[in-house]
């Protein structure tokens, strides 16, 4: 399964799709990027007159690129061959720098393990200057159903 096919299997759409492209994916990890449009609705309220990308959105962006794209790839290339859905089950993220409207971020995830349908990754987000924005670990269960 190539990167275009993976993107077409993502279950998100605007305004909750936080993946623009995948630069690389293999069985051990994934790299992808996303640019936060200045028009995104949450900037109106987070914060009043001082737009900054919320931590939960950075976490979601890391989950969509690092966990969901990798989970789809791993299940599609497995014996069964059916791309699964990934249910987020835990996150532990440290935040280092703010991400402002219009910034492009790159997410890199490395698989720690994928066993008994659980995918666990170490994950990192960098900004255009190459500085680490946030990093940590993230895990999910790969299921056949969207809301199991």
């Amino acid at each position: 399964m190539n990167t275009t096919e993976i993107l077409s299997h993502l279950p998100y759409s605007k305004p909750f799709l936080f993946v623009d492209e995948l630069q690389h994916i293999d069985e051990n990890g994934v790299t992808g990027s996303y640019t936060f449009s200045e028009d995104l609705d949450f900037y109106k309220g987070h914060f009043k007159d001082h737009p900054v990308t919320p931590g939960v959105i950075l976490t979601e962006t890391m989950a969509q690129i690092g966990l969901v794209c990798l989970g789809i790839y791993l299940t599609a290339t497995a014996a069964a061959g059916v791309p699964g859905h990934v249910m987020l089950t835990s996150t532990a993220i440290d935040f280092m720098k703010p991400v402002f409207p219009g910034e492009k971020v790159t997410v890199t995830a490395e698989k720690v393990y994928f066993r008994f349908k659980k995918l666990n990754c170490t994950i990192q987000m960098t900004n255009a200057a190459g500085e680490v924005v946030c990093k940590g670990t993230i895990a999910g269960m790969v299921t056949n159903k969207m809301n199991a």
Partner: protein, 84 residues
Amino acid sequence: MDRQLLLSKLKTIVASYSHDKDALEYLNETTDFTKDLKINSANLVDVVLDVEEEFDIEIDNLSMERMLNVSAAIEIIETKLKEK
């Protein structure tokens, strides 16, 4: 391995993922990981991975699916230890 020792090692492992203090304190062979200890399916995987590491055994998919309570876990661990 002695059954009591095995049970106490298992208790130490599940303690990290349990969300019910009382059920953990009174852990016995009838304790159910999900219903009693409130461990979710993702952390159940971590219990199994920790069991593999602690007892130096490998748990297969079928055993994983059966490992829903303390008595099943003990039986599976004892069987795998004998196979070593």
